[in-house]
Symmetry: C2
Subunit: 215 residues, 2 copies
DNA sequence: AAATATACCATAATTATGTATGGTGTGCAA
DNA sequence: TTGCACACCATACATAATTATGGTATATTT
């Protein structure tokens, strides 16, 4: 049988589970963990000692971690150990639409993404326009997440700017050193740029993620 | 010309920029924002007033937000949720792989997503296995985000369980009332379920998002 | 019947953190 | 040369938050 009701962690009591949920929710919504008194208020406890007890128990059971004496240091164990944080990736424009300026002033929105160790790398997102990559499962309206940088390997999907137009293509360097930019659509032809050709072609970055929304 | 240097908040001074970087780094590593005194220590300031000044300036310039009186409430403006809340969607298993039990114990990870008003709806994610939806741009290894619920409209992509196997298909009800589950792969045949057929078929939910990671 | 876990209350002390006020010096533009 | 932005210092105080200690009551296990 298929169970889909989200099950509680086995070894926590009902109340401990609820407190853990609240801690997660608080971090999600406010960005910072709650204090003991905030938890106390949420559950209408008259004494703070009650919360102290529950937190102590959650720590004993390994469900949360805390640094002694530090304000707002209560955190769910999973989210701390995995070191995963959510980052908002700015959507800077539309790709393959001849967007001339991509800058902070043109931010159209944000995509949430885990920032896994990639701290410092510049990541942004672009809305895909057109059908040049349909056979790679990249559709019109999808959001492409791009890691900025001029380096690409064969097979990477890259965002390239050619004569002030930005497009998404598969990157391939052939034995002669020429760069092939391949659309993943049988109706379209690859573009080839040999080394000493005088075109303003530049790799903006490579695609590291895709996000699509239905309805 | 195409400018892609994600422009720094133009109006920050060098020191303010460094402090903002430290705040981000601290959040990334410890999970919580730093206190004024932690910033003071990091930059070896002899007076806390110095930090107060810089933070006040960062707030004035809109680079960080802070709640008055709250400990550790300094946060980079971009990562703070003003109206859109980021939710972590649990990945409960793999779809089209005959996964028998989907429960909290089987969580494989999380996908971050904006929960736009849909707070309270049960949303989860499944890793796509197989090629039955390639022509809809859903590939093997992609993460499908599913909103739980038994209702679907024609054209929706749904997660259905049939005899304890969960698969992803396009939903279509034909004039006779029979349910068509259509794989988006020309090599595969649609499944048709007429009203009074004795099969354990159940719609688990409909697909609301897709997430793909490259490399 | 005694020990243990759960779930709460009350109060005081301590330390962590934020707030307020008033300074110094330097460089740059009006 | 006056004013203003910038970068810093010193100190006192207020309040936010954690820590400590010692209770009550109930149900469950040994």
């Amino acid at each position: 049988m298929v169970y889909l009701g989200i099950m509680k962690q086995i070894d926590l009591t009902k109340i401990e589970g609820k407190i853990l949920e609240y801690i997660k929710e608080h971090i999600l919504i406010t960005g910072i963990p709650p204090t003991l008194r905030e938890i106390q208020k949420k559950f209408s406890y008259k004494a703070i000692g009650t919360v102290q007890d529950h937190i102590a128990s959650l720590i004993r059971k390994g469900a949360v971690l805390r640094e002694k004496g530090k304000a707002r240091s209560i955190q769910p164990a999973e989210t701390v150990t995995s070191h995963k944080r959510i980052k908002r990736i700015p959507i800077l424009g539309q790709i393959a639409a001849g967007f001339p300026v991509l800058s902070e002033e043109n931010i159209m929105g944000y995509v949430p993404m885990f920032s896994e160790g990639a701290y410092g790398k510049e990541i942004f997102a672009l809305i895909v326009k057109g059908t040049s990559m349909v056979e790679a499962g990249i559709f019109d309206g999808d959001t492409a997440i791009i890691e900025k940088g001029p380096i690409a390997e064969n097979g990477d999907i890259v965002a390239v700017s050619i004569n002030d137009e930005v497009t998404l293509k598969e990157f391939k360097k052939d034995p002669t050193g020429a760069v092939n930019l391949i659309p993943r659509n049988s109706d379209m032809l690859p573009m080839v740029y040999s080394k000493n050709q005088n075109v303003d072609m530049k790799i903006i970055g490579k695609m590291v993620g895709l996000y699509r929304k239905y309805r």
